[in-house]
């Protein structure tokens, strides 16, 4: 894989949107050293760096898929990871005021709360696991990747977006009914 950046941000962002694994891996490698440097300069070790980078990239990929306009991918990744690390340092009451930057940060905002523990999450994940693969992939493509119905129709080889939509709705109907049973049992 190339270590030199030959790709434009538009190209990389489009690749992330379309779940292109090769592009995602490229992005991962491209910016890891920057974030690892930041973490290790500021009281973290390699494991902290890896954890933080992966959590940060999840946020960035989510923003991209939700359609947020990102002009400088590198600065965006840096700034999200930086803010996450700062929050963690503050949480641990470490000396965040002596923070050393190795790149210029831009303003970013995202929800950095600890994931709320939902009591029925385990049962829901199980219900999702039991759903047939096509249904699950359809729902993930729509609700997680936030693909358009046209893109979903292309990926799943449906002749029209409407076919994809009605299949997606049927899958949601099915899993919602299961989820309702789970919620009723609480």
């Amino acid at each position: 894989m190339n270590t030199k950046n030959n790709y434009t941000d538009e190209y990389l962002i489009a690749g992330i949107k379309s779940d292109d694994e090769a592009i995602m891996e490229y992005v991962y490698r491209q910016y890891y050293p920057m974030v690892a440097h930041l973490v290790k300069n500021n009281r973290g070790n390699d494991t902290d760096a890896e954890d933080l980078y992966q959590e940060g990239l999840l946020v960035v990929f989510q923003k991209i898929r939700a359609g947020e306009e990102i002009r400088f991918l590198k600065a965006y990744i840096y700034s999200v990871c930086r803010l996450k690390w700062l929050n963690l340092l503050r949480y641990k009451r470490r000396h965040a005021e002596q923070f050393i930057d190795n790149y210029e940060a831009i303003e970013v905002s995202f929800d950095d709360d600890e994931k709320e523990a939902v009591p029925y999450e385990g049962a829901l994940q199980q219900a999702l696991a039991q759903l047939d693969e096509t249904c699950r992939q359809l729902l993930l493509a729509f609700y997680f990747e936030k693909l358009s119905m046209e893109d979903i129709a292309t990926r799943f080889q449906y002749s029209q977006a409407n076919t994809a939509k009605s299949k997606k709705n049927k899958c949601m109907d099915r899993i919602r009914q299961k989820a309702q049973t789970i919620l009723q049992a609480l």
């Binding site: 090769a22 980078y53 829901l124 992939q137 919620l183």
Partner: protein, 232 residues
């Protein structure tokens, strides 16, 4: 309610805050009057959250894999103090390599990250050149046909039970290979999604066969390593 046929979409619009003000008022009134409807909304909200968690967990697995791949190349790029002349011998006698303490250290950090130590077994992946150049990737779904135990045939006679996300990757290092975990990655410079590609799955033996334009290739699922596609 006018939206009974599109209940899923109606609830989505409410949860996405895209209902018009009057529609929102109607929606909330319905929730107050109809506890069962309210529960459906809650259920859909919970499913949406669960899908996020599911997707994030999958993505994180991918990141871990990327990280392991990256580390693997670091080991390759910075071998222990072995002379260049030993390189060939090294491939044959891995034991010699293992006697270096530095290698143990790096190996320990890698094996922590790899789900299984499987990559070790594959010398080509481990010692192979890291200079791969990926030029194109196509992602799409391919059907999976369930093959019965008394049935030797392919697609036509079998029921399509499932689908798998497939990618065709053009990579100079891998002329005709595959890697099959959640996603089936087919490495080829000539294939495209216009070709007839499908999988058959024998439930009894859990064996997968990849069928490309009527030619069959046995594929193993669940391994990280990239393997050659060999016609059956």
């Amino acid at each position: 309610m006018t939206n009974e046929n599109n209940k899923t979409e109606w609830i989505d619009q409410y949860l996405n805050h895209t209902l018009a003000p009057q529609e929102r008022i109607d929606f909330e009134r319905r929730m107050q009057q109809d506890p069962a409807f309210r529960q459906e909304v809650e259920a859909q909200r919970a499913v949406r959250k669960s899908l996020q968690n599911w997707g994030n967990a999958q993505l994180k697995d991918k990141f871990k894999q990327f990280h392991a791949n990256m580390k693997q190349e670091v080991v390759h790029a910075a071998p222990p103090t072995t002379k260049a002349a030993d390189q060939n011998e090294l491939k044959g006698k891995t034991r010699q390599l293992w006697s270096k303490p530095g290698v143990w250290f790096m190996a320990a950090s890698i094996s922590l990250m790899l789900v299984a130590g499987i990559v070790w077994i594959n010398r080509d992946t481990f010692f192979g050149s890291p200079k791969t150049e990926i030029t194109a990737v196509q992602t799409f779904q391919i059907p999976v046909a369930a093959v019965g135990s008394d049935n030797l045939g392919y697609a036509g006679e079998n029921t399509i039970s499932d689908s798998v996300t497939a990618q065709i990757i053009t990579d100079t290092q891998y002329p005709f290979h595959y890697r099959f975990k959640d996603t089936l990655q087919i490495y080829s410079a000539t294939l495209s999604r216009a070709d007839e590609i499908m999988l058959t799955h024998q439930a009894k033996t859990d064996a997968y066969t990849l069928v490309i334009n009527d030619k069959s290739y046995a594929v193993e699922r669940g391994f990280n390593r990239i393997q050659e596609l060999k016609e059956e």
